[in-house]
Symmetry: C2
Subunit: 149 residues, 2 copies
């Protein structure tokens, strides 16, 4: 729970109140790290533990955390917005592999975009500050299954 208290003190530092609803949302996010949950899924889990908390509060908490850059959201091809806790410092140095068969989302740590970004700067003078890269395809398991069918 060291992660939880770290975020809690960041909230306090910025003058936000440490409410029960916020703690419950954070607990769900931490317990499900790496799962890329939707707001609906987060709400359901929070609601299971603490039925009093409403969807609006969940949304407000997610927005707050995103504004604080403790949380990131991303739209995937199924049209759903999914959330993931920031990985400490350089969060955005990872990409997503999305399996078109089982919808699994795998993270890749490589950041091989530096070279591309340099080229773009040289050629277009476009100053890049962030990027979003998703690969769509078939995960190991689904790809093997597919070949058998």
């Amino acid at each position: 729970m060291t992660n939880l208290s770290r975020i809690e003190s960041e909230l306090k530092e910025k003058g936000y109140k440490l409410t029960n609803a916020r703690i419950e949302v954070l607990k769900v996010l931490i317990k499900n790290e790496g799962k890329h949950l939707t707001s609906q899924e987060i709400y359901e889990m929070v609601h299971q533990n603490t039925p009093g908390i409403g969807m609006a509060t969940v949304y407000r908490t997610l927005s707050l955390l995103e504004e604080m850059r403790l949380l990131y959201s991303s739209v995937f091809t199924d049209g759903k917005v999914r959330y993931e806790l920031a990985k400490d410092d350089n969060h955005h140095k990872h990409h997503h592999l999305v399996c078109l068969n089982c919808n699994k989302i795998i993270e890749v740590e490589e950041d091989l975009l530096e070279e591309i970004e340099k080229k773009i700067w040289e050629k277009k003078k476009f100053k890049i500050v962030d990027h979003s890269l998703k690969f769509y395809g078939y995960c190991k398991e689904c790809y093997q299954k597919e070949k058998k069918d």
Copy 2:
């Protein structure tokens, strides 16, 4: 208008009717190639020319074209879905530069992901069939202006 008739015959080939609404939507898409219009913007332009055509029809036409892979849609950070006509054969070999200041969308033709994709296949056995890459930052004009301010 060679582009329009090419798409028209593809529609016919697949047994779809060549209706006025479809032609009007296509004309707007072709006239605005490279602009990454939203459904709303497309509707407004279509509606200006032919007031009878409704939003639902525009949506149905966009979905049809997308299904036929003549059109691609993408969600940008402003949360809006934007459409672009497929560039002939290997449409997906380009990326987007999105200016965070003026919201301009610039296309880059480079496809330097092959190396990354090869690495991912080797390491993870994830079979990539498509990708989506967006760079966020500041275009030449906005970046220069920013420095002066």
